[in-house]
């Protein structure tokens, strides 16, 4: 065994083992790529130096600290910091393993090239190659770093919390520690605790109903407006179109807060107007009766959401070939028939992906609920669960986190949202060009 590589490919195994033994070793000993090899080796050395610390943190993540009631609050074990640090360490290990795999693969690829070219690359060559080949690494570094530490770690953390008892009043660090409780929260939410189970069923059902109604009303409302305004006999159509676009242009927090004030049961302008006109005797509880409030949220969402689909359908309709309409007219089709047989199917087909996107958006439509009703009105289980009559899953998560500090239940809900939305994400994925062309 020398430190020279054979050109016939028989040194494959030798190089492979060396590369696995220590990151970058193969590059230094056999491929003579000192810069690259030392970089890799440096990463592994740094990792080894941190190893005791990493193991310590991972151990903390498993125990989540021990209660030390006699110590001052500042010195007690902070379970949540331990959990987050543990998740971050896992992410770090994952990144390290990924770099390790990349290093071994790069060594093997270089050896393959050596076998065909019969000579080692000079250091200068390999440096210029690094600049070219490493472009993906540098290009993706900010993406990976940010996504791992600000998206993945928080999400894994919150998935972990679903299996702990992190909740007010008894398990809030730093005063107390948090413990792993297995499936307890799921058991409580799905049958174990009747109040929470009822609330979950009610909110989950309303979330789905809300998302379907909100999407359908906006879509068909927008489509009707688009079709009516496309009629060429209507000379004033642009004016109406201009008016109808306005709600879409107003930031939704503003418009929802305005509606909340206008519809207020006791002093809202809508009720006072109707009373002064003599149309109603006593105030209509727009936002304080459970069923009326549900109806109101959908109605106001229609106000805010139909312009988007009106614009979209208008855009799609102008792309439908005029020949189709001509041919239909010659065949004696009426206007309604043309709409039903030509416009509707074509527009539906074209906009289907956007309908699905809008549906998933509405499942997570925090603003439309929170700023209009705040999830109110209060229903029978609200005092315990904090879930009001119009709360959807996301607004409930917010309330559980901010008001009740029941982080464990909030995390169970987050997992539920994931289960509801994952099929849509997969659908969206299968539609993409890269999937269809077999690239992924």
């Amino acid at each position: 065994m020398g430190i020279r590589l054979k050109e016939d490919g028989s040194s494959r195994k030798k190089l492979f083992i060396t590369s696995i033994l220590f990151m970058g070793l193969g590059h230094i000993i056999y491929l003579k790529q000192y810069v690259k090899g030392l970089l890799y080796a440096g990463i592994e050395i740094a990792m080894l130096v941190m190893l005791p610390n990493i193991i310590h943190k991972l151990n903390d993540m498993i125990t989540l600290g021990t209660p030390k009631p006699d110590l001052p609050v500042k010195l007690r074990d902070h379970s949540i910091f331990m959990l987050i640090d543990g998740v971050m360490m896992l992410a770090l290990i994952f990144l390290f393993v990924a770099i390790y795999i990349i290093s071994v693969r790069s060594a093997m690829a270089d050896y393959k090239e050596f076998c065909t070219e019969k000579r080692l690359k000079t250091n200068r060559e390999s440096l210029s190659r690094i600049l070219g080949k490493a472009f993906p690494v540098f290009g993706l570094a900010p993406t990976v770093g940010l996504v791992v530490f600000f998206v993945v770690v928080p999400l894994i953390f919150s998935a972990c919390v679903a299996f702990t008892n992190y909740s007010s009043p008894e398990h809030i660090p730093p005063n107390n520690t948090v413990d792993w409780v297995g499936m307890d929260n799921f058991v409580a939410m799905f049958g174990g605790d009747s109040t929470w189970t009822m609330a979950l069923g009610r909110v989950a059902l309303w979330t789905l109903v809300w998302a379907v109604l909100a999407t359908a009303t906006c879509y068909f409302g927008g489509m009707i407006m688009a079709v009516v305004l496309m009629d060429n006999k209507l000379k004033v159509a642009p004016i109406f179109r201009g008016i109808f676009i306005l709600p879409y242009a107003v930031p939704s927090v503003v418009s929802m807060l305005v509606w909340q004030n206008l519809l207020n049961g006791s002093f809202g302008t809508v009720n006072r107007t109707l009373m002064q006109l003599g149309l109603i005797e006593k105030a209509i509880p727009w936002l304080s009766n459970e069923w009326l409030a549900k109806f109101t949220t959908v109605l106001i969402n229609l106000w805010a959401g139909f312009p988007y689909f009106m614009l979209l359908v208008t855009g799609t309709m102008t792309a439908i070939s005029a020949d189709l309409y001509e041919a239909a007219k010659i065949d004696g089709a009426g206007r309604f028939q043309i709409f039903k047989k030509i416009t509707l199917p074509l527009v539906l087909y074209q906009t289907m992906p956007l309908i699905i996107m809008s549906f998933t958006h509405n499942i997570n439509n925090f603003g439309a609920i929170f700023f209009l009703t705040g999830g109110s009105p209060v229903v029978s289980d609200s005092t315990i669960t904090n879930a009001g009559g119009t709360d959807i899953l996301v607004t409930w998560i917010y309330k559980l986190t901010v008001n009740l500090m029941k982080y464990n239940y909030a995390s169970v809900l987050a997992i539920m949202i994931f289960l509801i939305l994952a099929p849509f994400a997969i659908f969206q994925f299968r539609r993409t060009k890269s999937y269809k062309e077999g690239e992924l």
Partner: protein
């Protein structure tokens, strides 16, 4: 003759219906404008007829002299601009790499991004809070920008990648033969061609922070670090109802938004539709 009459009646009915709907659409908007100029404070004291109470500019002077409105506006502008620029840079660079290179774990990375974008980012807000605490990002504007940027990446990288996929690879290749490196190709060739989607990305990531509420509420504490959404919301909480001041503040934000929107709506809708249909 009869047909003509019927169609004329039809047209009149349609016009009447459209007018009624227009009134419904305009009603809250007109009312806010009138509230912004009305004397009085809470919504309960306002006349139900718009502009029925007279006219005053005192709420605007109140905003500029008695509240931190200008600071909120400045903070929000800084946050929105930085988020927009950094999102464009990071997402399009990532999209270019995903579109043009083959590398280990590309497939799993893209799938991960796709799954990540279905979560509203505040699901992980406790962890984000602790992480910001660790790196000293709490109560700072850059901390908030970092959170927005990270949340923007998964979806937007996919969106831009789908667009770059449609740009012919022969363009890159001929540039490479001429000796251009990847960064030059990305900057001089891909970015200019991808301008429609980049513009769209810039606009959406610029407008979103203006009205976001949850993260500013969590991250920004001190009075001089508040944003517009927080400030406006504070006028109409349960404790106090200063609807007229709120209306004045909201009007000042909404007007540039509306003007901007009317200018860009054509590009917005076509890019949005196009981006989704093309994939």
């Amino acid at each position: 003759m009869g047909n003509k009459w019927i169609s004329r009646i039809n047209l009149t009915v349609v016009l009447i219906i459209l007018t009624i709907i227009s009134l419904g659409v305009l009603y809250p908007l007109v009312y806010v404008v009138s509230a912004a100029f009305s004397p009085g404070n809470s919504i309960a004291s306002l006349n139900v007829i718009p502009f029925g109470d007279g006219f005053t500019l005192k709420h605007f002077t109140h905003l500029f002299t008695k509240t931190n409105y200008l600071i909120w506006f400045k903070n929000t502008l800084i946050i929105a601009t930085s988020t927009s620029i950094s999102t464009i840079f990071v997402a399009s660079l990532g999209a270019y790499v995903f579109s043009r290179f083959h590398f280990t774990m590309k497939k799993s990375m893209m799938l991960t991004m796709l799954i990540l974008q279905i979560f509203p980012s505040f699901v992980g807000m406790i962890a984000i809070y602790v992480i910001l605490l660790r790196i000293g990002g709490l109560d700072t504007l850059w901390g908030l920008v970092l959170v927005y940027l990270a949340g923007n990446i998964p979806y937007n990288t996919w969106m831009v990648k789908s667009y770059i996929d449609t740009i012919s690879k022969s363009l890159d290749e001929s540039a490479r033969i001429d000796g251009a490196n990847h960064l030059t190709i990305f900057w001089k060739i891909i970015m200019p061609i991808a301008r429609p989607i980049i513009t769209f990305l810039g606009i959406t990531s610029f407008t979103a922070p203006w009205m976001d509420f949850i993260f500013p509420k969590m991250i920004l504490r001190s009075a001089d670090k508040q944003t517009l959404a927080l400030g406006l919301f504070s006028f109409v909480t349960d404790k106090k109802n200063e609807f007229t001041v709120f209306a004045a503040g909201a009007l000042l934000v909404a007007i540039p938004f509306i003007i901007f929107f009317i200018i860009t709506q054509k590009t917005m809708v076509t890019s949005f539709g196009g981006a989704a249909v093309k994939e």
